[in-house]
């Protein structure tokens, strides 16, 4: 059998031209309005977004010997260390006698989600360099996938939190319904940051090296190991400039009901996230055009 025969056998039956031809028009031009964000493209590429998220999850867990167990081990270790250092040794007070472990876990969960999303979303453009250089797709899918993927880890961690709460005898309340919108808020916050640092990382690869460091400092600037209520009053507004403050405090409120929902903190966080988000979107779309040239 010659190669020609072989291909004749596997060539798919011809579909009539009419059925296949799409009338979709694509206009390629140098300039696009500053606020033309082409969000319809994101919707059209939702299939690819789902595939990218799924791929990230499969690859992550397949490469690790312990697989999905990491989603449990990692926050538990963090909480054990925090409990020893900050709960037992430094004796950081928790509001309303909540066990320090629960107090910390309720903040570590959203924080880890945020940090992991920023890490993946912010460096994704460079790790996916090959794709960006050779295939067209809305580049925004990369930070988006980076934000969606870690939700799985979050959910696994959340189950651990529920088990821990049962262990300490803390009953879940209706307040838990605040968690999905809070998670969206944390995701938006992470996506905003990714949309800013992603394009910068394309230009200056320093970002990759500084990011873990920045996230570390950021964690201590956020009320993860301590409570927002012990921040001196005259510093509160500065601390609240950190958009994750409101999210983390509200998370604690949703989990064990303590901690006041500081309206200033939530308000400042909310406004900041919205500004960062839309600013980031415009910035990303502006920079997107040069990604393939620079990477």
């Amino acid at each position: 059998m010659t190669p020609a025969d072989a291909s004749a056998a596997t060539t798919p039956p011809a579909t009539p031209l009419r059925a296949r031809t799409s009338e979709r028009r694509t206009l390629i031009r140098p300039d696009r309005g500053l606020f033309d964000l082409e969000l319809d493209q994101i919707w059209r590429s939702r299939g690819l977004l789902a595939t990218l998220v799924k791929r990230d999850i499969m690859v992550l867990y397949r490469q690790a010997a312990l697989g999905a167990a990491w989603a449990v081990i990692q926050p538990i270790f963090a909480v054990i260390i925090f409990t020893i250092v900050f709960g037992i040794i430094a004796k950081i007070p928790t509001p309303g006698d909540v066990p320090y472990a629960i107090f910390a876990f309720a903040a570590v969960l959203p924080w880890n989600y945020f940090a992991e999303s920023v890490r993946r979303g912010g460096t994704g453009l460079v790790t996916e360099e090959e794709l960006v250089r050779k295939v067209y797709f809305p580049r925004l899918l990369i930070p988006l996938a980076g934000t969606i993927g870690p939700i799985l880890d979050f959910l696994i961690g959340f189950v651990v939190l529920l088990i821990l709460m049962a262990f300490f005898g803390i009953a879940p309340t209706w307040r838990l319904i605040a968690i999905p919108p809070l998670l969206v808020l944390a995701g938006m916050c992470a996506l905003s940051i990714s949309m800013w640092i992603g394009p910068i990382n394309v230009r200056y690869r320093d970002v990759k090296h500084t990011l873990p460091f920045i996230l570390q400092i950021w964690m201590y600037a956020s009320p993860v190991v301590y409570s927002f209520s012990i921040v001196p009053d005259n510093l509160k507004w500065i601390v609240a400039l950190n958009p994750m403050v409101g999210v983390i405090e509200a998370f604690r409120w949703a989990v064990f009901g303590e901690g006041v929902l500081d309206p200033i903190a939530i308000g400042v966080s909310g406004v900041l996230i919205v500004v960062l988000f839309f600013g980031g979107l415009v910035f990303f779309k502006r920079m997107e055009r040069s990604f393939a040239d620079l990477i």
Binding site: T2, P3, A4, A6, S7, A8, T10, T11, P12, A14, T15, L17, R20, T21, S22, E23, R24, R25, T26, L27, I28, R29, P30, G47, L48, A50, T51, R55, M58, V59, R62, Q63, E130, L131, V132, R133, K134, V135, Y136, F137, R203, Y204, R205, D206, R289, S290, A292, D293, L294
Partner: protein, 416 residues
């Protein structure tokens, strides 16, 4: 607007800033250093990879894009597929566009073949359902059923390419942009890919095809666009366009050779003549004929004990043979300035096809020059690459059709 037009480009141009491209600031430190250093005032700071390209491509048309390395072919395809944004002009595309700039981009090494089929399919713009319905077809085309649940990191490069092309081929786009992708895999698979592209063509797909392989261009595209330094210098019938291209590619740098450094190459070939034994210049040789390759070189510095190689590459860039002064024990103590050499080959026993002469000059192990020296054809009614491979030589046979008889020696079976 005429709906028969698949691609309409008007004044499309892409400018690259040399600073940003050549000495990209990969870190903040570089950027800071550059800011404090006085600007070097050397050479142009920008260049146009593509300049003022205007053309229309009708639905169902197959167009080849040719040009030497760096002529802007890939930039054109990347612009049309929206990977890079043009600096000037615009293009309008009607229909679903599929671009294959590199086979297998987006494959993930850790995932299995099956998972990668879905991943790659959606990267190329297929929906999951679409990939699922075509899955069996894709696997059959790739011929690697057995390994479909193995991670692709365990694949050979050939298997990798097969699977990737199988997915891409089933993309079924209205417009397909192909960049050299057919020059992969073994010959059988290449043939299959070309056949497949032809079947797309029969179904009315528009194909834009970049290739160095003049054979596939000739067999697939009635029209070529010829780019030279970013500009379209010819747009019309393939035969005419390829003549221009061949004239330009004579003595051009070979695609596999990259000259490093800023100063001109130490030695270059400045003239070539392909002749038969009688000294008549020609470009079509009979199988079994000898060829005389006479060429002039020019050096910019003395080169001691150079090795001079002349090679023949088939049109699909398969390197077929090499003649070397070293291997033939020709001792050249030194070359300096201009000079001329002539090689008379053994009788050509490569099968009928199109070939390219290549030059390669080395000093010790260092390659100083890699140039193309024009194309020639070998003619034979029977020995063609499709059924005879690369070369043909008569063999000696022993034939024993009945065990009782003593083996009969048949020399040169053909002359029996």
């Amino acid at each position: 607007m005429n709906s028969n037009i698949a691609i309409r480009a008007e004044g499309l141009g892409k400018r690259y800033k040399l600073g940003a491209l050549g000495s990209q600031h990969n870190s903040l430190r570089d950027a800071l250093q550059a800011a404090f250093r006085p600007k070097k005032a050397s050479g142009p700071t920008e260049f146009w990879a593509l300049k003022d390209a205007s053309f229309e491509i009708k639905r169902g048309e197959n167009v080849g894009i040719v040009g030497l390395n760096g002529a802007g072919k890939s930039t054109l395809l990347k612009t049309l597929s929206q990977i890079v944004t043009p600096t000037t002009g615009k293009a309008e595309i009607t229909g679903r566009l599929g671009a294959l700039l590199e086979v297998g981009t987006g494959f993930h090494r850790e995932l299995t073949g099956r998972e990668n089929v879905f991943l790659y399919g959606s990267i190329l713009g297929m929906s999951r359902a679409e990939v699922a319905t075509k899955f069996d077809q894709i696997i059959a085309f790739s011929e690697i059923e057995k390994f479909i649940d193995t991670p692709v990191k365990r694949y050979s490069s050939g298997m990798y390419v097969r699977l990737a092309f199988a997915v891409a081929a089933n993309l079924d786009p209205d417009i397909l942009l192909l960049d050299e992708v057919l020059a992969v895999g073994d010959l059988g698979f290449q043939k299959k890919c070309i056949d497949f592209t032809r079947s797309l063509e029969r179904r009315g797909s528009t194909i834009l095809f970049v290739s160095h392989n003049m054979f596939s261009i000739k067999s697939m595209c009635p029209r070529v666009i010829y780019l030279r330094k970013g500009e379209i210098v010819f747009d019309g019938p393939t035969d005419e366009g390829l003549k221009l291209y061949e004239a330009d590619s004579r003595l051009a740098q070979a695609p596999w050779y990259r000259h490093e450094g800023l100063e001109p190459p130490a030695v270059s070939i400045i003239d070539v003549k392909l002749m038969d034994e009688a000294g008549a210049e020609k470009s079509v040789f009979n199988f079994g004929e000898r060829m005389r390759v006479r060429f002039r070189y020019r050096t910019t510095r003395p080169i001691e004990r150079p090795e001079i190689r002349v090679g023949f590459d088939r049109a699909d860039e398969v390197h077929c043979c090499t003649f070397s002064t070293f291997d033939d024990n020709i001792d050249i103590p030194m070359i300096d300035g201009e000079g001329e050499l002539e090689l008379t080959t053994a009788p050509i026993n490569m099968v009928a096809d199109q070939y390219m002469v290549t030059f390669n000059i080395r000093e010790r192990t260092h390659q100083l020059c890699g140039q193309l020296g024009g194309t020639f054809h070998v003619r034979h009614p029977l020995f063609i690459s499709h059924s005879y491979g690369v070369f043909h030589q008569p063999g000696q046979w022993k034939v024993n059709t009945r065990d009782q008889q003593a083996p009969q020696l048949v020399v040169n079976g053909r002359d029996r």
